[in-house]
């Protein structure tokens, strides 16, 4: 089977059939630009300063999700790739949780660093 006259292996043909086309990539890029603009815009809204953190985290998650699913093709590729990547993400969050737990257990005192 070919695409534009190129011979592809059966596995590549299956992957190519699921990959987005350039128009879809550009649409995702436009959404990324819009979300980034919103993210920066709310940074300057004084009335939102008390509740800005959840908004910023949601916007960052949307951008992260769009890049990982559409540009890195996790939406279309094997579940094993997804599991490998999510395992790393979960471990990173566990490290973060452990660091913050130690921080709070010490009453908010930051561990000393030599020369710090």
């Amino acid at each position: 089977m070919t695409q534009a006259g190129i011979e592809h292996s059966p596995r590549e043909e299956e992957e190519l059939a699921h990959h987005p086309d350039p128009r879809q990539y550009i649409v995702v890029g436009v959404w990324l630009a819009i979300v980034t603009a919103l993210e920066v815009a709310i940074y300057y809204v004084d009335s939102l300063q008390d509740i800005i953190v959840p908004f910023l985290l949601v916007f960052a998650f949307i951008k992260f999700f769009l890049v990982v699913t559409w540009f890195m093709h996790l939406r279309f590729d094997s579940a094993l790739f997804r599991r490998l990547f999510v395992s790393g993400l979960v471990l990173a969050l566990v490290v973060f949780a452990i660091v913050m737990t130690i921080f709070l257990a010490r009453g908010g005192a930051v561990p000393e660093i030599a020369g710090g």
Partner: protein
Amino acid sequence: MSAQEAAAHAPAEHQTSTGLDNVKLAMWAFLGSECLFFGSLISTYLLYRNRVLDGPRPHEIYDIPYTSVSSFVLLMSSVTMVLALAAIQRGDHRGLRIWLLATAMLGTVFIGGQVYEFTAFVEEGLKLSTSTFGSAFFVMTGFHGAHVTVGIFMLLSLVGMSMFGRLSDADGPRKVELIGLYWHFVDIVWIVIFTVVYLIPTN
């Protein structure tokens, strides 16, 4: 062409126990481990960002409009990267080289911006040894910048391989996709750094 003839002409493909490309699997395992690496650096930064005994504090030194532009530049480099992949999947090598060069150029603009930012911070009194905030900031963003720089070299290598006919239609798309995965990863790390480090206010 019969099915048997088509199979005989298809590019050679190694059989693996998972049925997946081992190199791509290794790349995803590497990216998973990189999540842990950058997760540790970001956690350390969050822990130490308010620890400033000497030198400027984060909100006094960050230039949000400037960093927003460089974040946008890096984000758009992911778009040009996927357009490069789409080009080689169509067998369009000229398009591939144009989009790869555009991606490398956007990455270089981002790195240039980071060098300027670092220089400005040093002039304002924030150095690697000024405070634990300074150490955590420079180590985290410095490692990210190093990753982007490595990515630029890989992109330029792909351009060279394409120019000298070393990217065949059979395995070229796979090579471009692997480098693309790395490039998008440095982009998503910056998405997190931009929000958590620059935009979320400090105490």
